[in-house]
Amino acid sequence: MTQPIVQLKDLRVNATTDSGRQVEIIKGISFDVGPGEMLALIGESGSGKTTVALSLLGYTRTGCRIDGGEIKVAGHDMAQLSEAQRASHRGATVSYIPQSAAAAFNPAKPLIDQVIEAAHIHDVMPAEVAREKAIELFRALALPDPETIGERYPHQVSGGQLQRLSAAMALITDPRLVIFDEPTTALDVTTQIEVLRAFKSVMKQGGISGVYVTHDLAVVAQIADRIAVLKAGEVQEIGTTEQILHAPEHPYTKELMSAFEPKAFVGAATDLAPNPTPVLDVKRVFAGYGPKGANNMPAALILKDISFDLMPGKNLGVIGESGSGKSTLARAVAGLLPPATGQIAFKGAELHPDLQDRTKDQLRRIQIVFQLADTALNPNKPIGKILGRPLGFYHGLKGQAREARVDELLDMVRLPKSIRHRLPSELSGGQKQRINLARALAADPELILCDEITSALDTVVAAAILDLLKELQRELSLSYMFISHDLSTVEAICDDVLVMYKGEIVERMPTAQMRDGAQHAYSRLLVSSVPKLDTHWLDDLQQDPEITAQFSRR
């Protein structure tokens, strides 16, 4: 039998907090990865999957350290090597593809120089040869204009292309092992397909082993040979992809699988008056950025002739790819970006386009929850203060009453009360997003604009958040405008769906019809691009190349 590329034995990673307390992050994990094999690490945020993946590079984040175990990568024990020896393997024997390619490239240098940098650092080949190899990789990764794309700068290519370029960067030195850290999480579904296909074919051709970190089971189903399910720093179950997906044994794996099952949405019991006033009524809104031109339209027009309404107690999904204007729509409704023309009415009363002219009560009733909890929470404020402010600001709560309400809110979003003294940077991505939501709930709103709030969350947590949103809706007669690129999320919570493309609404339909009854070609493309929990889905997927080319900017 051939020697495995990765032999991880009883890995232990510990951290020391600033008060000197010891925290066990990884509690003895062992697995092997064979040559040419792709192992997926799945688990919720905080389960240690990224820590394990980084340990394969002999790297731990600040404050953590590898306290025991053996990390054999291609015969070298990364735990025992000196820092200089580790550095000689990073990028050469084992390389890393980060989640956000946009943050991983230097914006001031041409792409090709950055792609071949690893070859230069490790002195494995002359620059000319490296360039040729890079162009070959670009071709293998199905990048357009492989000969010249390397001369461009990072801002001149799309997100999907950048992610594939970062794969080329990782593969230039012919590593034995590539670590993928959620590389498609930030991409649109139609782009994700292309990137996954490129990854898969390149890895297969080169016979390279991989470790793929993700929380998206459907992606895992397409790309992994084996899956390790992690929770709280321990492997719960490890097995072939087929076995994990179809015959999970561990209760946690079962829970994970059931969370992923698309849940049909059952609308909240609606006994509405015959002619109810819509909670939100948007009429012929045009909005954009930049100075206003001759026809009173902004220079960069994002939203074009948007009209829709939202009935009380109902939820509206807005789907579309990045750049389709769906987040701008939320900003226009919230008053952050006053529309150039058009009306926005809330419960029959017209809202002033600019939020500075809206009343405090109007502001309270519409809350917006942003996509990136990292930037949406003030990094220097403890959680208790972040949640306490809207309570004080809108409801005048003080002292004990405010504290009690903060505890209630934390309880609502299933977080321990002790978290109130922490800073956002001390929480996991999922926990931060729950705080983000709790802050909106603190205002007691009637309409919540959710901008991709579950796209950074794990399936289990996202499912729990969706359940929570539904529960709150029943109790508080809330309405949600749910912006997402994840169709199954929209399916789980929305009554109706708006499909947006390049700032226009191309179609509105009841969610139930989305899978089969979409009329517009773009809606159909979007629906067919959502990965399914089927290992053959990607290989069998047939999409009309003309429509794909027409609607996606690859």
């Binding site: 907090t17 930037t375 949406a376 990094p379 402010r389 600001f393 003294h421």
Partner: protein, 281 residues
Amino acid sequence: MTAVTNFIARKSGYNINLVGLCSATVILFWAIVALIAPMITPYPVGEIVDWDYFGPSSSAFWLGSDYLGRDVLSRILMGARFTVGISLGAVTLACFIGVTLGMLAAVIGGLFDQVLSRFLDAFNSIPSKLFGLVVVAAVGSSVPVLILTLTAIYAPGSYRFARALAVNINTMDFVTVARARGEGTLYLIKEEILPNIIGPVLADFGLRFVFIVLLLSGLSFLGLGVLPPNADWGALVKENISGLPFAAPAVIYPSFAIASLTISVNMMIDNLPKKIRDRED
């Protein structure tokens, strides 16, 4: 010493390191000296008490005597009042005004930002010594005039610095969330922006403090600063500079005083106590 820092950490909930503790001690020492100086000076500041000039350290004159035979120790102790007091007052005012305006400009933006920025840029272009000269010539030298003049000289730079930092923070989502909530400008700058720029702002504060100490001694040298017989530390160095060939303590000790204060201020700002986040509650 780690026992001391550990003890402080346990009692206060703040982590403090040794360098921070030492520099804080030095600053506290000079602050106390500045307060009680008249009570502890062994000789009157202006009186010639030694027959010798540039005299060495002796039991009568601990730090020697200066170019006129005055007691250096007494002059340094009294000089602490001027150096610490004027510089600290000026730097505090300059940074308070500069940082507040800078954050306001970033948050309000538009015309307010444009006008304020251009005005302060213009102000910044006036040479600082020349400006000091004109002001002192016009209204005469006194401690309040010196503080206000130094403030006017150093506030525009502080404004530029704070505005550049605040503009970056202003684009973050959490500021947008606070705006969408309907928060006022004061809340935005105080709660959302300031805590996120306070580190660099304090470092700037320390640098500016050192600049002000130096400019103050420059002004004193020109006879525009602290009026004789009093002198700040910068003036003490300048007036005794001719003692350098004689290795006179009169020129060494005031320099040590300046160095100990300015370095300590910078070290303390780089090593401010950090709150311990991991607490069991």
